[in-house]
Assembly symmetry: C2
Homo-oligomer: 139 residues x 2
Amino acid sequence: MSEGDTRAIVRELYDAYGRRDFERVAALIHDDIDWVIYAPMSVFPFAGPRRGRAAVLAAMAEIAKVFALEAYNPDVMIVDADRAALMSVVSYRQRATGRVLRVRIASFLRLQDGRLVEYREFIDSFDAVEQALGRELQL
Amino acid sequence: MSEGDTRAIVRELYDAYGRRDFERVAALIHDDIDWVIYAPMSVFPFAGPRRGRAAVLAAMAEIAKVFALEAYNPDVMIVDADRAALMSVVSYRQRATGRVLRVRIASFLRLQDGRLVEYREFIDSFDAVEQALGRELQL
């Protein structure tokens, strides 16, 4: 796959996710996707490892149940052969409280056969937990 | 700057950091570097934003005072023009306790004039805090 292909597919994936077009997102996810969001599952049950398209779509559905996406802005996109890395500024409204969480997300993607086959997501999870709970953590 | 230059300089930077050659690291850092480690400064005083070479070297010295680097392994390196992104598996021994913290670090770098001018670092900071304190956080 050329870097141009990678760039185009990653853009399409984020565009589809941004407009909540999960049918298109699903079509861009590999059957055997290897997926990890590095954050505590005790607070964010949709975090942690997932394997396969169905499990990943289920995690996305869990996220959407708890949070309404307000904005997903990829600020930096780095593409190298079949891999991409993005830094994004993301706003989620917590449905239960109406509060808006603002987080920076770092994501690493690898494509295979034109679809997402590996995904790793990093956030400042300590800050995200404090935002989700609406209070500072006791140390 | 070509991608080959970027790749070579980033490799040199990580090699120098890995062997604790801070003189070489300093030579590869831009005067006006814009640097952020996204983690709670209450637990990791060297985290947060830093501006300029002196401030960044001081943060590195703070890290080295608290933690002895055991291993810094960049698993994935993505290079695109003057930018790079890395996913690394890193082990730090906490000097005060002897405990070894194992973290995954996602870093985004931008070079200018052959030197690091922008740096962003992401970790699962909730997990890193628990490892640093040696206990689970109360939610």
